[in-house]
């Protein structure tokens, strides 16, 4: 369940962004055909054109890095980019990796360069291993591998060129130099690139040098945090460097890596208005009149429908009737296919679906527009230059006459109309058109995930307890549960429900379980169960009852984090449990358990008891509104969860009616 509660987008619309820059060093738009195996094998003892031999580590530094637990370090990561007056972009990438341990060689000995084959050419200029004694070993070009790097449902021209470096061991250095060539005019959006100095291993020298021909406007640059220093050290030349870049510190619960690590943005001059205009033009050009669109729109309109109802029908049609399949070949990474093509093929990615949604929405009279989203960013302030590279998703927003703007994600098959999937809450967005002059943040509901537990528990005179349970998953939790269950057959769904029950309550009772609402995104998913628990003995001999509030604890505990170095984003969660116990008529309930009122800056746990002679109601609510837990608060936050949820045992007491005299 933890997974489902934390369900994050596994598929920010990949088609809007090329390759994850943190891992791959950035993708490059450009032009023309790919060249795969234009590789010059290094000759042993040959020239050292880049002067890499000067880049070494002294013994102290090497020992320090080893002591810090690093198996390798990048001696050099360098981009030398030239923007030609003829529109060419040349990016010479150099990476030199020194292995500090044999284990490091085993784990970090695969270096790869990503390439957008439809847009750019990659030429491997040098690939070799420099041994500790200075000797060099080349790489057999025939062993270089070109593989696609796509997720299921994503059709992409991204490939990764990987090199099997020979004879890697402690003290060896793997060197790869690649040269990318592309054409700016082949891509419809203004050239820009993002660089991330911090990676999973330390870097001794990080360098980005940008030069440009006369006639090319001066690029803009921005450094967010970190120690990168930029200077224009010559005419039409920008140099950004940092020595001894530490390794990025990782944490398990990160939704916004790109904001937590230093970032260098370089872009040709543009503005948010210009970017908005450029992308909007691509979307609008894909919305063309076609009778097939008219037919569908006509089917979606029912007489007397309100705008909200129309929105629901259009959204459900595009979300449910059009499969999510991403196409990011070439400019397809940012330009949607025609709406009618998406309609007729029955599939599309985020921008395709948004385009179809816009076409249909406008035909039924709705005022709708597209919005770019950066699904891994919360901070507008980090978007320091106007660049399309920040964004990886597209949604649509609609202005309804009776309400504020409602945004929908047509790719979110499992999300109700009127809601955005949880992984978009609070993210940075750029409206296309509508006079948008800067990015904004999408709304982040105070409570984005909701679980409600209703349980009727009948305690017999012999101590047996029968339970009738309904666990209702709503909003973000329902999205996660639904996404997990929808592909499953009925038997597998029941097995999942049974597993959830047993892992929450234990193995002892054998429940009957059923699931509801899985296939309808507009209603909660409900797990119902009936179970009988073994008797504890004659209740008249006992003085009270203790029970864990297992379901509440399970779902609330999903908020726990192991983060140590980075802030933790809480997507607001509320878990309510309504438990009603009815007791054997031979005893009278007299003693309620502890009322709870645990309140902390991040949320609260509240419980009340209502007690009658034969019935006790236990109402418990755990709520943690949407918030960011700072690094210095992580310990206290964990304590809040641990301490409050450690006090959730239910207890109530009774007296035999003979003794109580009633």
């Amino acid at each position: 369940m933890r997974t489902s509660l934390r369900s994050r987008n596994a598929r920010a619309c990949a088609a809007l962004l090329a390759v994850a820059p943190l891992l791959a060093g950035g993708a490059r738009p450009g032009a023309a055909r790919p060249v795969w195996r234009s590789v010059e094998p290094a000759r042993a003892g040959g020239a050292d054109p880049a002067g890499e031999a000067r880049l070494t580590l002294d013994a102290d530094r090497m020992r320090l890095l080893e002591e810090e637990g690093h198996g390798y370090t990048d001696l050099l990561r360098e981009h030398t980019i030239h923007l030609g007056a003829d529109g060419t972009v040349v990016d010479r990438v150099t990476q030199m990796r020194l292995f500090l341990t044999d284990e490091g060689a085993r784990n970090g000995g695969i270096l790869g360069l990503p390439v957008r084959t439809a847009l750019e050419r990659l030429r491997l200029e040098r690939v070799e291993v420099r041994q500790e004694d200075g000797s060099r070993i080349g790489v057999d070009p025939a062993r270089i591998q070109v593989s696609t790097n796509v997720a299921p449902g994503v059709f992409s021209d991204v490939a990764v060129v990987t090199v099997p470096f020979p004879a890697l061991r402690r003290g060896a250095t793997a060197i790869v130099v690649g040269r990318y060539e592309s054409q700016r005019s082949a891509f419809p959006l203004t050239w820009s690139d993002l660089f991330y100095p911090e990676r999973d291993a330390p870097t001794e020298r990080f360098s980005v040098v940008v030069t440009w021909d006369e006639g090319v406007p001066d690029p803009r640059f921005s450094v967010s945090a970190g120690g990168v220093v930029c200077s224009t050290d010559g005419p039409r030349r920008l140099r950004c460097e940092q020595d001894r870049v530490p390794a990025a510190r990782t944490d398990p619960d990160i939704t916004n890596w790109t904001e937590l690590t230093p970032e260098l943005a370089v872009a040709l001059p543009s503005s948010w208005e210009e970017l908005s205009r450029q992308e909007l033009a691509l979307v609008e050009s894909a919305i063309r009149e076609d009778p097939r669109l008219d037919d569908v729109a006509a089917r979606l309109v029912e007489p007397g429908s309100t705008p909200r109802e129309l929105l629901g029908r259009v959204h459900r049609f595009v979300a449910d009737e059009v499969r999510y399949v991403a196409f990011e070949h070439g400019v397809g990474a940012v330009a949607p296919r025609p709406a009618v093509a998406t309609l007729s093929s029955g599939y599309g990615d985020c921008k395709d679906k948004v385009t179809l949604f816009l076409a249909l929405a406008r035909k039924v009279g709705l005022d709708a527009w597209p919005v770019l989203v950066a699904s891994d960013r919360f901070l507008v302030s980090r978007l320091s230059v106007a660049s399309w590279r920040y964004f990886d998703h597209m949604i649509a927003c609609v202005s309804l006459p009776d309400a504020d703007t409602v945004c929908v994600d047509p790719t979110a098959h499992d999300v109700a109309t009127g809601r955005l999937p949880e992984w978009l809450h609070g993210r940075v967005a750029l409206d296309l058109g509508r006079g948008a002059t800067a990015p904004r943040r999408l709304d982040a509901p105070t409570i984005a995930r909701h679980v409600e537990i209703e349980s009727e528990r009948e305690i017999a005179c012999d101590g047996r307890m029968q339970e009738s349970l309904a666990v209702s998953f709503a909003e973000g939790v329902a999205e996660g549960v639904r996404a997990r269950l929808r592909p499953l057959a009925a038997d597998e769904r029941r097995r999942w429900a049974l597993d959830v029950f047993r892992s929450t309550v234990g193995e002892t009772p054998v429940p009957t379980v059923e699931l509801g609402g899985v296939d309808d995104a507009e209603v909660p998913v409900v797990l119902r169960a009936k179970a009988t628990y073994a008797g504890t003995g004659d209740v008249e001999r006992e003085s009270g009852w203790a029970d864990p509030d297992s379901w509440l604890v399970r779902f609330a505990n999903a908020l726990a984090t192991q983060n140590r170095f980075h802030p933790y984003w809480i997507s607001g969660l509320e878990v309510q449990s309504h438990l009603r116990y009815r007791i054997c008529p031979r005893v009278s309930l007299t003693l309620p358990g502890a009322e709870l009122n645990f309140e902390a800056p991040w949320g609260k746990l509240v419980r009340t008891y209502q007690i009658d002679p034969q019935e006790v109601r236990v109402e418990t609510t755990f709520s943690a509104p949407t918030a960011v837990v700072g690094v210095d608060e992580l310990g206290a936050f964990s304590r809040f969860l641990r301490t409050s949820l450690g006090q959730t045992r239910i207890w109530f007491g009774w007296m035999p009616l003979r003794r109580s005299g009633t």
Partner: protein, 323 residues
Amino acid sequence: MESQGLPILYLLGAASGGLYLLVWIGRAARALRLADETPRRPLAWALGSLAPPIAFGVLHELSRRVQPRAAAPAGVRLPALLYAVIEASLFASHAPWLVGALLRPIPVLWIQASWKRQAGVFPFDAATVRPLGRIAAILASALGAALLAGAVWRSDLPRMRRSLAPELAAQSFLDAPDGSFRLRIPGSGWRLADPRTIGDGRAILALHAPRPAVEAFVYQPPGAGSLDDLVDARRRRIQSAGRLMAVREERRFADGPELRPLSLAVYRCDVLGTAVVYVVLTSRSDDAAVELVGYGPAGSSVEEDLVSLAQGFAWLPTTRTER
């Protein structure tokens, strides 16, 4: 007849808790009647001396009637007045029985001593008994002393200790010896007791509440389990002492940044027909637990006093950095 002297008279008076003094007054009245042949009612005189104003009259009259026989008359008013004042003070101040038992014989001894000096004219010695009577007096005194000791043990000693315990200033703080927590004294009238001498002897701190018979104890349970375990254990102990009629418990975080759980519970019990209220505060940190248990006869003011005291509990900040 044999005179046992003033020490015996004192012992008889003290050991009997003052009852023997009534016998002494009765016997003195009887002896006076025999001496001057004036009609007297010894029993009425003895019982009349139980009331302070009448006691003054009785002793004064006894002494006054002996004076004319004396060669060297002594003061008659002072010991009678002293007796009456002691009686009145003990009555008005609810002073412990032991104090009364120890003080009451003194003016009687004074009178008896003056009569001994005038033995020629009034040879009365109420401590003078026959051998058989002496044995009976010794046995009676021993029994009386045992009863008195028992009564003192049950009732007077705590009251005396309470009255002797130092009073704590309102809104002052008591810090735990290990510096882990503190307790704010909610108002006047609270007194610090020696935890070794009251309660079960395991408390680290004991307090007398402003009202009689209301006490509070602070424990640091060693190797304590969870808060649930601690609360359960205390509830079971309360249930073993009497019938638990009602409970009200609230849990929250103790004041302070360390988010330690705290339980405040009010139990109402029927202990052998007497309604007793228990107020129990339980809180624990990662490595320690604190339990404050207060109890007294049920009543809103008792509960209010004890809850106020519990609400003054606070953990003291630790220097350890928590993660």
